[in-house]
């Protein structure tokens, strides 16, 4: 019994982490039809900026609790700087080209950003474990969990609910749905599509950076930390259906629970299991579990 609870709790914690990252990826794909390979690098940037800010904050002896604010600030900074820079500076010249070309463009961005991070922060690892331990531990069903994990779960739920509500209930959200369904008609109706693209990409970047910033206290921030995240996030959004918010949530839950089950019962198949699930879903539901049917175009 305890083992099952532990498995579920671990799975949910991991799923929350996956969901935050996959949310940005699926949002960008849903609106802009860009499968962003640079997403993992933006995640890494978030982690690096968070490490720098928290290090500075604690180094100057300011209130340790406010270091959580630094994590959020890091995500906002990365989102507001990298998002518009990449979208306005490069991606907007590529709209209308093949999805595969855009995939390659973001692959180039991934290569560039990996080295930009090395140039700015060097290759030495950064540690900021204080925010992780500061909240203490929580006993649950006979097992001890750091309270920090609750923060992770809370942030992922809030991010998902907030994004879904904005899309569904606000004026801008409805306009965005129009842009998703038909870019050309939306333009004709007077919607500023370019601005929606800019805002979407910035929010997507911010979500990647939040994922990175929240992860920074739990690991050592090193070059290449985004490389594995990209394929994991791909697995999640592909399982759920590219461009679908409920899909990303379901995909994150499936991948998270599968991995947690693998880690508990058969650790040697951990990586294998994640990609096996991805391949299986692609085989039986090529467009993912939550994909809408598409009209065939000649």
């Amino acid at each position: 019994m305890r083992e099952v609870v532990a498995l579920l709790v671990d799975g949910i914690i991991y799923s929350s982490w996956l969901f935050i990252i996959a949310l940005g990826l699926t949002l960008i794909y849903g609106v802009m039809k860009i499968l962003n390979m640079a997403h993992g690098s933006l995640y890494a940037l978030g982690a690096y900026v968070a490490a720098t800010l928290v290090g500075y904050w604690l180094g100057h002896g300011y209130a340790p609790l406010a270091s959580y604010g630094m994590l959020a600030l890091a995500a906002v900074i990365v989102g507001l700087v990298a998002g518009p820079l990449l979208e306005r500076g490069l991606l907007r010249f590529m709209y209308g080209r093949d999805e595969v070309v855009l995939l390659l463009v973001t692959y180039a961005l991934f290569l560039i950003l990996e080295d930009v991070a090395k140039l700015i922060w060097g290759v030495e690892p950064y540690y900021i474990s204080e925010p992780y331990g500061m909240l203490g531990n929580l006993d649950f069903a006979g097992l001890t969990y750091p309270v920090y994990n609750l923060v992770l779960i809370a942030v992922s739920v809030i991010a998902g609910v907030a994004l879904a509500s904005v899309l569904r209930y606000t004026h801008h959200g409805k306009l965005l749905s129009a842009v998703i369904h038909d870019r050309e008609i939306s333009l004709a109706m007077g919607i500023n599509v370019a601005r929606f693209y800019l805002v979407t990409f910035t929010i997507g970047t911010m979500l990647a950076a939040i994922g990175g910033a929240l992860t920074a206290p739990t690991v050592s921030v090193v070059p290449g930390m985004g490389v594995q995240v990209i394929v994991l996030a791909f697995a999640v959004v592909v399982v759920g259906g590219l461009g679908s918010l409920p899909g990303a949530a379901l995909g994150a839950l499936i991948v998270g629970l599968v991995r947690s089950a693998a880690v508990h019962y058969k650790p040697e198949v951990e990586l294998f299991s994640i990609y096996a699930v991805m391949a299986l879903v692609l085989i039986f539901r090529p467009k993912g579990l939550f994909a809408a049917a598409e009209v065939r175009k000649i």
Binding site: L90, L103, D115, V227, F234, L271, Y275, M278, A279, L282
Partner: protein
């Protein structure tokens, strides 16, 4: 007998030039052999690109070819280079044949994603298989050709010559294939596959065949790489390895069967020097180059030759 065309003549000239060059530049042998091996993978990828498909998982076959050579040498003491290379081809082709039944149904990013998933599955398996050395991989014993050793520091030229011949044959065969009806379907499928179906050709079958050829070439490339480097590890199947192949394929363009090898040699040389002098910025250079090629040379480096030729004749 038909007169050889420009590409065939260029291939023969390149074969002779490379064999002589190899004698003159012994220090470059390792690098050249390695880039020829990787060029074979890119050649297969180019075949898929011509059809409008991008595989982010050629590392799967590349790794399988390499591990086939390694395992045969390590566990069965089979050392004959030709036999090993054939095994690499066979395993690449066989696995591609099986996966092809699925892959042929997919297009665009779904093709890219599924191929990526398969290569990551192999990576996940290899990383955890202790018998095959987990993340460290293992060393490949130097092979022999007709009883005499090839590869290693002393016999590098023999392996290089073997690689040259393999590349020569593969390029000739693919060049001939491009001119067959099945080969000519590639650009047609890329442009409009529904019309190809209306004309009575099976798109799935055509893609399946191309996928098998690409798998076989990647298996051969992996086998050659294993012999050249003398060591194999699971990173051969990691998605960044496959991404590198995609990069070289885009850089080279799909204009000619020679392009992938040109692109591969250029890439390996640049990377070796860039890595030596500036280990922290070489990816930046590579990424920047990829962007420039996508924006300014959408048909790859090879299109520069066509441009020059057109200007010369005008």
């Amino acid at each position: 007998m038909k007169r050889p065309d420009a590409t065939q003549l260029a291939l023969i000239a390149a074969l002779i030039a490379f064999l002589v060059l190899g004698l003159l530049l012994p220090k470059w042998l390792f690098l050249l052999t390695l880039s020829l091996g990787k060029g074979l993978v890119v050649l297969g990828l180019m075949l898929l690109l011509r059809t409008g498909l991008v595989s982010f998982g050629q590392g799967l076959f590349y790794c399988l070819g390499a591990y086939a050579v390694g395992s045969l040498g390590q566990f069965f003491v089979i050392k004959d280079a030709l036999l090993l290379l054939l095994t690499g081809v066979a395993i690449g082709a066989l696995v591609a044949l099986l996966l092809g039944f699925l892959m042929a149904k997919y297009r665009d990013i779904f093709f890219a994603m599924l191929s990526l998933a398969f290569s990551m599955i192999l990576y996940g398996l290899l990383v955890k298989s202790a018998a095959l050395g987990s993340t460290d991989g293992f060393n490949v014993p130097p092979p022999t050709l007709f009883g005499s050793p090839v590869g290693g520091a002393a016999h590098q030229y023999a392996l290089f010559a073997l690689a040259c011949v393999m590349v020569f044959v593969a390029a000739l065969v693919l060049h001939a294939y491009f001119e067959t009806p099945l080969g000519r379907l590639s650009p047609a499928i890329r442009d409009n596959e529904i019309r190809v179906e209306y004309m009575g050709a099976s798109v799935r079958q055509a893609i399946h065949v191309k996928y098998v050829i690409a798998g076989a070439l990647a298996g051969l490339g992996g086998a050659l790489t294993a012999m050249t480097v003398g060591h194999i590890d699971p990173d051969l199947a990691y998605w960044t390895t496959s991404g590198e192949f995609v990069f070289v394929a885009i850089l080279s363009g799909t204009g000619s069967v020679i392009a992938p090898f040109l692109g591969s040699v250029v890439f390996e040389v640049i990377r070796t020097y860039a890595y030596q002098y500036s280990p922290n910025t070489w990816q930046l250079v590579v990424g920047g180059a990829l962007l420039l090629v996508i924006i300014f040379l959408p048909s790859g480096l090879w299109s520069v030759f066509g441009y020059l030729r057109r200007r010369g004749s005008a």
